[in-house]
């Protein structure tokens, strides 16, 4: 939908330098207002940022959202508790499985369902595979934002393997809809364990390659170190979660703080970096890859036997009340808040998406930095626009 607001009207007939910018609201002498997006190579989707520049220095970043707002919360109000889970795959499509997991957890909390141990382990395995796949894409896209194209293809090679594993077990590559309230939709594929183990073995070497190509690269380090600094207090105040907050030294891993499924039984570290700059956030994600591998290594040979799904009624009805579940997606804390009036559909559902809160810190982080830095900051925020717009 075309939105005609004053601030977008920057195709003025005046020469683009100087203060004579009609339509650039609030532009002072010498300031330059630039629209980054909604179609821009670095916004990965339809995020629209209105940037006020002084020379190359950013004065203000103002996100304009809503280009793919679908009002998923409203849609879910008319869907049953089995049906609404698939819609959440369309929010954060990179960690679709974890979103579904959060919804399933919330419904199970309402139903007070006991999940069979096998299903719990499968869910966690899938979560971690999804997290690796999501971080892979982030890594490639981040390097691409900074002008290195090749890492993107290396990242996608590994991501492709995960997608193949997902496809074999879940039946789809991206929006798997493998979660059902009470467990998972079907049992894992007989090849699953072998393929995951093969992948893990291969993947460990690949992370070293990533370090050679990007992490230790002097240009990359210069581009990200000291850029977009977010202090711990600000991270909390802006509601940042996930690697963004952990890069600022805030302990916020839901898997550690409020363990769900079998996360309290596996050994893994919560990665904390204290620098708070883009490089710290980058390191958190790269190190999280290894932690995810560690979790998978512990669980892949120890999938307990038993049911993969708890017995549930055909029509689910949640008791009257409010239920909130939190889960750690690849981007941070994903919350599902269900208000039930006792019917078969939720009365009100609210998704607390990590990207939304993380984006709100963008203005604070990027003031005073260069345009090039904005890409480094946005890259490490790992924004997924459908997740923000919902």
């Amino acid at each position: 939908m075309y939105r005609e607001t004053k601030i977008l009207n920057v195709d003025s007939k005046v020469s683009p330098i100087g203060g004579d910018l009609e339509g650039a609201v609030g532009a002072d002498e010498g300031e330059l207002v630039i629209n980054v997006g909604p179609q821009h190579p670095a916004t990965h989707g339809v995020l629209h940022l209105v940037i006020t520049l002084q020379g190359e220095t950013i004065q203000k970043v103002e996100p304009h959202l809503g280009y793919i707002h679908r009002s998923i919360e409203k849609m879910c109000e008319s869907l049953s508790y089995r049906q609404f889970i698939y819609v959440t795959s369309r929010m954060d499509y990179l960690s679709a499985h974890i979103n579904n997991h959060g919804c399933a957890l919330c419904v199970e909390k309402g139903l007070q369902l006991e999940i069979p141990p096998r299903a719990q382990v499968i869910r966690v395995l899938m979560d971690e595979l999804t997290r690796i796949a999501s971080h892979e894409l982030w890594w490639g896209a981040m390097a691409m934002d900074l002008g290195a194209f090749t890492p993107f293809f290396y990242a996608f090679r590994e991501r492709e393997t995960i997608n193949d594993i997902m496809e074999e077990t879940c039946g789809a590559r991206l929006t798997m809809n493998y979660m059902v309230p009470g467990g998972v939709m079907y049992d894992i594929h007989p090849n699953f364990q072998k393929r995951v183990k093969d992948f893990i073995q291969l993947f460990n070497n690949k992370i070293d390659e990533y370090d050679d190509l990007v992490t230790n690269n002097i240009i990359f380090q210069n581009r990200t170190k000291g850029v977009g600094i977010l202090s711990a207090a600000d991270a909390i105040s802006y509601g940042c979660t996930g690697p963004v907050a952990r890069g600022s030294g805030v302990t916020c891993d839901i898997r550690k703080l409020y363990p769900y499924e079998v996360y309290d039984k596996v050994a893994f570290d919560e990665i904390i970096e204290t620098a708070g700059d883009s490089y710290a956030r980058y390191l958190v994600r790269i190190k999280e890859l290894r932690q995810s591998v560690r979790i998978i290594e512990q669980l892949i040979d120890n999938i307990p036997d038993g049911d993969f799904q708890a017995k549930t009624k055909a029509v689910l009805k949640l008791p009257r009340g409010e239920f909130y579940s939190r889960i750690e997606t690849a981007r941070g804390e994903f919350g599902v808040y269900i208000v039930s009036e006792g019917g078969t559909t939720p009365y009100r559902i609210k998704f607390r998406s990590p990207g939304f809160s993380n984006l709100s810190a963008l203005d604070h982080m990027s003031r005073g930095s260069k345009i090039g830095d904005l890409m480094a900051i946005m890259g490490t925020l790992d924004l997924v626009i459908p997740d923000i717009d919902r």
Partner: protein, 358 residues
Amino acid sequence: MFSLENITDSSQKWLYATFNSTIALVLQCVIVMLLVISLFAVLGLVLVLMERKVAARMQIRLGPNRVGPKGMLQTAADTLKLMMKEGLTPDGADKFLFNLAPFVVMIAGMLIMAPIAFAKGFQIWDINIGVLYVSAVSSVSVIGILMAGWASNNKYSLLGAMRSGAQIVSYELSAGFSIVSIVVLAGSLQMSDIIASQQTGWWLFRGHIPAIIAFVIFIIAVTAETNRAPFDLAEAESELTAGFHTEYSGMKFALFFLAEYINIFIVCAIGATLFLGGWMPLHVGHWKGFNHVMDYIPSSLWFLGKTFFLIFLIMWFRWTFPRLRVDQLLSLEWKYLLPISMFNLLLITLIAIMGWHF
């Protein structure tokens, strides 16, 4: 033995024998012009295809492989497409400058072709200040880029052009210093003299470590001067969408695109001439047999081989490194490359004066 020198010599003799000297000169100019233009077209096609293939191999892809055998005709098809596209001029643009800019960039590229020796005796204009001419004319292309950025009436273009201006002006310095260090060693500004001075060995090997440092600085500086990644700030895709040529389409865009590749070719040709001996075959000290075998390889092949090796190197940079930020770009030049190359020039002068080179 087949040699380009014989062809140029005999054709010149024939021209001057058949016509009076004025007409012969005009005809010569026409021939040279046609040759340069066709060289441009061929180089554009070859280099774009090469870039895409090199990128594909580094990115574990296949690259173009559908049009023609092994995708050889891909760039020809792309050119055809670009020619048939409508050349849009934005409404608020300065139409004259907007349309002029691609040609300025292009002509600057053509002018630098003049003193380059493509093979033994195959040179358009062996001017006695060849190296100076090259470094002077290569600065002209920045005017075209600034024109394009300014005239587009697009903020991305403007930012790209400004970056490009700052970048080319500063990297000109260290590129100049590197060139001067070879001039010091060779003792001449003339291209043919510089090549002749490398008869016994290329300056890269004969000039000890300072020559190697000069070579590395030269490669970095020319990568920056041609706006290639990791110094492609002028068209930084993820920041400024396409930088100074955001608003260009169709053939005018193709000219910018072509000019970029031609510039790469030219700077690599100059690099090959100065540091790797131009068309001079590889000679190692007193290995008579080896040197003799090397002499059998035509001089044009030597020249093209060296040039394309350098082009490959620059492509390799592009597909490996992230882009620098604009302030880092300048601090790299002013804090590292310039002091090093100045000091390096001193060392080279010392070597040249004392005659320490091999």
